[in-house]
């Protein structure tokens, strides 16, 4: 049997789609070689095979299927055919213009909204940063004050507990008041303290003066203090001058903020020993 006869036996199975892959590929290669007889035989076999559909049991689709199909077809038939004479390409339909305009408005609004949101976010960030900076500064100030207070307490403690410190008792002058006590330690300074101290006049404070040994020297102004509600007062002078140059300590009542020179009589005074 020639190869052509072999392929002739494949017409029906090829049309049926029953050829296994090797046979199918071989048959298609033979058709590709230009065999008109086999091409015609295959084409006729396709028709015979197509008739096999009629051996399927007769059945009909539902009316709903036709309804759906016709609805789809009618709706698509209303659309302008793609190949028909189209309107001039420069003419934009009204609905498309409206769509573009709406899209443009939406785009602009979105951009504006995004810009507003960005500005609000930036302002919020700035407010937050400023608030954080303020809180940081306040915290730093509180911390500094606490550290300063701690340093004064340490200094006060160092002065009061040093047995080498010089004690100066300041006696009240022409007033009914308890005496004040000053402790002078060379390294850490002076602590001036008092109990039940009379309150100075309104807008006035008590100011410490260091009286030099030099007869021509003027009283050296020092810090001011105002007793608390219980009359208690503590004044710490961190960096006093050389105690050997000072012959006495004195306290006067001065306007708030202190004075460069005493403006009122001495209220307490004590000599260095």
């Amino acid at each position: 049997m020639s190869s052509h006869d072999q392929f002739r036996e494949m017409y029906e199975a090829y049309a049926l789609g029953a050829l296994d892959a090797p046979d199918r590929l071989a048959f298609e290669a033979h058709l590709a070689s230009g065999c008109e007889e086999c091409a015609k035989g295959a084409a006729e076999a396709r028709w015979v095979v197509s008739q096999l559909a009629y051996i399927a049991p007769d059945a009909g689709p539902s009316d709903m299927l036709k309804g759906r199909l016709m609805q789809t077809v009618r709706s698509q038939a209303k659309e302008p055919p793609a190949a028909s004479s189209a309107p001039p390409p420069t003419r934009i339909p009204y609905w498309l213009s409206a769509g573009i305009a709406a899209l443009l408005l939406i785009t602009l609004y979105s951009a504006w909204s995004a810009h507003q949101a960005k500005e609000e976010l930036r302002a919020s960030n700035e407010r937050l940063a400023a608030r954080m900076e303020q809180e940081r500064t306040e915290t730093q100030q509180k911390l500094s004050a606490m550290e300063e207070q701690m340093a004064l307490l340490h200094r006060e403690s160092a002065i009061l507990t040093d047995p080498a410190a010089t004690k100066v008792t300041l006696m009240p002058q022409k007033i009914q008041a308890p005496q004040l006590v000053a402790m002078w330690q060379h390294q850490n300074g002076i602590v001036l303290a008092g109990q039940k101290v009379p309150m100075p006049a309104s807008n006035h404070v008590l100011q410490l003066w260091l009286i030099p040994k030099d007869p021509n020297g003027k009283p050296i102004p020092s810090l001011t203090v105002r007793p608390d509600a219980n009359g208690r007062m503590v004044l710490i002078i961190a960096h006093p001058p050389d105690p050997n140059q000072i012959k006495a300590l004195a306290v006067t009542e001065e306007p708030e903020g202190g004075s460069a020179q005493p403006t009122s009589p001495i209220r307490w005074v004590g000599a260095m020993t």
């Binding site: 296994d20 009629y54 007769d58 299927l65």
Partner: protein
């Protein structure tokens, strides 16, 4: 799929069906409805026989006719009559659906282009109405041996190959090939005699 180039019947393009299909190119809804009314029953019968379930069968039928509506230009009347083209389209769609469900290898995958292949109706073919055509084919298929009929049905309605049918029927491969070929030749001869 290899495309053959031969000259089909001269009058293929002049058939009433071909004229209806050409009308679809002009979005002729009435032409579509006439085609549907005329062939939806045989298309549905074929697809239902392959898929065995009405729901999926209607989906495939819907796809087939929508493809016809949207891509009627795919049908070239110069390559053969309309009905075999439509039935081949429906069979391929149904077998594709069946294969997706059963995960079987798409053996006929390369033959889906069969739609573009030539189908030649023999000279004895006449324009028969669908009812008479069905009666004639069923009568002829009834004359085949049970083995021939069974092998052809497995190939046509389930898309099985020679070797798959041999495995299904537990028969030698050569025997199955003979059943199918001889059965289809007998069918072809019967159609000649009937006309």
């Amino acid at each position: 799929m290899f495309l053959v180039t031969i000259s089909p019947r001269d009058d293929a393009g002049a058939s009433p069906d071909a004229a209806l299909v050409r009308s679809l190119l002009q979005n002729d809804v009435n032409a579509f409805e006439r085609i549907y009314d005329k062939y939806s029953r045989i298309v549905y019968s074929l697809v239902l026989r392959i898929l065995q379930q009405s729901g999926p069968a209607e989906e495939v039928v819907q796809d087939v006719f929508l493809q016809l509506w949207r891509n009627s230009a795919q049908y070239d009347s110069a390559r053969g009559p309309f009905v075999p083209w439509l039935l081949t389209l429906a069979r391929n769609r149904a077998l594709d659906t069946l294969r997706l469900k059963s995960e079987r290898q798409r053996r006929l995958e390369n033959q889906t282009d069969e739609l573009f292949s030539v189908v030649v109706a023999p000279q004895y073919e006449k324009e028969l109405d669908e009812k008479r055509r069905a009666e004639r084919i069923r009568s002829l298929i009834g004359e085949l041996t049970p083995q021939q009929k069974r092998a052809i049905e497995l190939a046509y309605f389930q898309g099985l190959s020679h070797s798959e049918i041999a495995a299904e029927l537990k028969e030698p491969l050569g025997t199955v090939k003979s059943w199918i070929r001889n059965g289809l030749i007998r069918l072809k001869e019967g159609l000649q005699t009937a006309s």
